[in-house]
Symmetry: C2
């Protein structure tokens, strides 16, 4: 990575979302194989450039690693929601082995995120910055819902 | 089945919950093998008398049939919630192959039922009547929640 890029992405790599993503990735790294990797290297599997995406077949079954990455992404979001609102956020990732499914995050009795996933063997983002944008979007919708329906979230 | 029993259970077997359970069981019966079975026979797999339960090992992996039955039970509940409140109720059964997991039913952004399941290879009820009681209990809690937080349920 060139110095210019490092400067560009410094704020991004220290953002709460990226830090949480790295923490979640380390959490599933039982053998310490990420110990010496940088943030960019640890998050590399999440980045699917158009070229990389083109190489993945349209139809395919997701492997355990992809499933684990999807969990990491939604766990990180749940951890951030929890940090922001002080209430437990529980992610629920329900995928078939064919890579279709539904992801929920609940806070109390409130569904703060609800998505249908498909083609998860192609799960990824064009860049770390795009991934953070996506995370921030979900987070802000979730926090707004919690703010509006705090009683249900507190149930 | 003796006549005395038939009279006893007539109201039960025509109750909305039991009718819905039978409908859901028939829905997964692709080969029409239940076509000639009575209600009691169709629901027989859900009934685990203490004797039958004793014969199932404490630890075991649930097979596809048990998983399907669990889905039937929560689908039937969702259908009933939907019939009562007029809003779509979506069940989400998330089980590991080891038989642990979580079941949710959501209406809009409201979680109207949320249960942790374990040992699902032993899923069953002592009798049809007990199964209906359990269903009615979940249903009444769900409908009360929807009544109290109708705005969230309508989201």
């Amino acid at each position: 990575m060139s110095d210019a890029q490092t400067v560009d992405t410094d704020g991004l790599l220290n953002s709460q979302f990226v830090v949480e993503m790295v923490r979640q990735m380390r959490a599933i790294d039982s053998y310490g194989s990420y110990d010496k990797l940088s943030t960019v290297e640890i998050l590399e599997p999440f980045i699917l450039t158009p070229e990389k995406k083109r190489d993945i077949p349209i139809i395919g079954d997701p492997d355990e690693l992809v499933m684990a990455r999807i969990r990491v992404f939604y766990n990180a979001l749940s951890a951030m929601i929890e940090a922001e609102c002080g209430l437990t956020a529980v992610p629920l990732v329900n995928l078939t082995h064919e890579g279709f499914g539904r992801v929920l995050i609940t806070v109390g009795k409130l569904v703060v995120m609800d998505r249908t996933l498909r083609d998860v063997h192609r799960f990824g983002f064009p860049s770390i910055s795009k991934m953070k944008d996506e995370g921030d979007k979900i987070l802000s919708v979730a926090l707004e819902l919690i703010g509006n329906y705090s009683k249900v979230a507190g149930l």
